[in-house]
Subunit: 351 residues, 2 copies
DNA sequence: TTGAAAGCGGTACCAT
DNA sequence: ATGGTACCGCTTTCAA
């Protein structure tokens, strides 16, 4: 059933039927009622393609996820973010178009999306410190919102990010408050913007207390269990053996815990851990990971917010860039207690 | 730049330009060369919407992911599956349209997708034992491939599934071979088709050895750390305390390990664990989870396969249902050794 | 080998 | 308040 057929059934013009269905005010209420009824009866649904060809808007938003073949797999955090965003799109009548692309050939994908008029806007995921995509999208004139930030970019653009620097500053300060003086940082890939900010926060906290940062106590890599294990083990067996760790992601933290145990130490007695993760929900454990964690309320929520910002930008004629900074919360998990203990032998006395 | 503009630049008709670009044989080679060149120069890309309106094919595939709000979050396995599928679509010039939907209102989404002609086909994720979606899609005439199976369906349909029954039969048999007689099953949600099959495999292995299954040794629920912990703990403190576990998903297994440790037992000495998971990659640990695992090569690969089956079905005029059963592999992780030990005190003597 | 023109299924301007 | 009609950008007969 298409518009023409429906209008013929009703003895009305396509114009009137279209107006009635799309809520135009000039249609008589009685007519609108009849049209709506008939549309329901005949199960009429406007063809998205035809509509978007006529309006010039594609009614779809693109999400481009970078997947680095060389490294490990897709970051599960995207899933929840997209779930939240998808909800916002559905509510606004937009479709969500997903593209997974190799780290290298991202430009092409954005260009293609823009050229084909396949989407009305995009969400940029996983920005690197030095990310060309933002300049490209500006050049292409394709509305976008970045999930995260790209520090190198000078012109203002829209983004939504968690305050990584502050979260790691607080996490590190927390351990310093407990008397720790040698704190290892297990971080994400150095090229990622968020990892850079996290390290900044860690370094600032150390500096504030006049503690020199040791390069051997900072590790960057994919946030995997393996990386957590290898990094922690190497630090624990090095000379400036840390009494505590600040860890990016619960997954890495599992490796860290394993390393600590392997060495014969006990988490919470000999070594303390503070984990930061954007969200624990993808870990599907309902929040009772037995460690101290800094979590933002929900990545799904962030996705929803980012989507609404983008829809807002698309809707307006002028595109004022919108920046949203989400604060991380420092929360204690259910079985956290013992893990917060001071180390058995602090390297330095408290001041 | 659109087709009309390009054809004007070239002094040719839209028809010829279109034909040249789409590889029709009747175009002179010289003309085709000129057209291709001009298209590249002016960066011409056909508008997807217009093309699909004209052809009747939307050149997009839908993936509908069920997300149960009441329960926990999105299963990360979907991400990898979709990554693989996305690759196949990209190669074939198709877009991937993602819809996340509440467990309840799935019918509506499929109906909508079909009515709007938004996609040429769909992949069905997370089938339940008694799933209405397959009947619905048949009724709608929308081509589809199911990732998994729905046991209640009688008419043949296309699916791609891992041999869950066999994997659990083998995992359980493996423990039985080691002398275990009381084996706990930590499974997924009972409503899910895959969980039912896994239980079947477990039960069959027990039956084959003449061992009676105990309901208290079977637990069904969301595959979370919490569920693994709670189930294992309750079994370990019950009367028929198991000496081994067969666990669905690495995430649950983490909970199981924690429960074992909490009780003061040692994994690999007092209690053995065999984990099954479709893929360990989403756990991002490079395969060295320190447990015995049954893994299929790659969920990404499965996604790619399913996508190609669907594209094949869409391409043909007749739609012969295709069924693909992937065998699970039983693989030993890097640091697996000690975990395979027999229990310190088998409940029953070996026969 | 090339071109004119009629769709595809809507929207939106201009009349009435 | 309703209808006629010219697009939107591409594909695909049918003619030449």
């Amino acid at each position: 059933m298409n518009l023409r057929e429906l209008s013929e059934k009703l003895g009305l013009s396509q114009t009137t039927v279209s107006r009635a269905l799309n809520g135009y005010p000039e249609v008589a209420e009685e007519t609108r009622r009849r049209v709506r009824e008939a549309a329901a009866t005949y199960n009429y649904h406007p063809n998205t393609r035809a509509r978007s060809l006529a309006t010039g808007r594609s009614m779809a938003i693109g999400h481009v996820i970078p997947v680095s073949k060389k490294h490990e797999l897709v970051n599960p955090i995207f899933t929840d973010f997209i779930a939240g965003a998808g909800e916002a799109y559905a509510a606004a009548g937009y479709d969500l178009m997903l593209t997974l692309v190799d780290d290298g050939s991202e430009d092409e994908v954005y260009r293609d999306l823009a050229n084909r008029r396949a989407v009305d806007g995009v969400i940029v995921h996983g920005p690197r410190v030095d990310d060309r995509r933002i300049a490209l999208l500006n050049e292409l004139g394709l509305p976008f919102v970045v999930h995260g930030r790209a520090s190198s970019t000078t012109r203002p653009y829209s983004w939504l990010d968690v305050n990584n620097r502050r979260a790691f500053f607080r996490a590190t300060s927390f351990l310093l408050d407990l008397g720790h003086r040698s704190i290892g940082l297990i971080n994400g890939l150095e090229t990622m913007d968020f990892a850079m900010r996290r390290r900044d926060g860690y370094l600032r906290a150390l500096k504030e207390r006049g503690i020199a940062a040791s390069p051997s106590l900072m590790s960057h890599g994919e946030m995997t269990e393996r990386h957590g294990y290898a990094s922690a083990r190497s630090m624990l067996t090095s000379m400036d053996c840390p009494s505590a760790f600040v860890v990016s992601s619960v997954i890495s933290a599992i490796g860290v815990r394993r390393a600590i145990q392997d060495i014969g130490l006990t988490v919470g007695r000999d070594v303390s851990i503070v984990i930061y993760d954007d969200d624990l929900s993808y870990f599907r454990n309902g929040g009772d990971v037995p460690v101290f964690t800094a979590v933002r309320s929900s990545v799904q929520d962030a996705g929803r917010q980012a989507a609404n910002i983008l829809l807002d930008i698309i809707g307006r004629t002028d595109h004022p860039p919108q920046q949203t900074l989400l604060e991380a919360e420092l929360t204690v998990g259910d079985s956290t207690g013992p893990l917060l203990a001071v180390p058995h032998s602090p390297k330095e006395a408290k001041e």
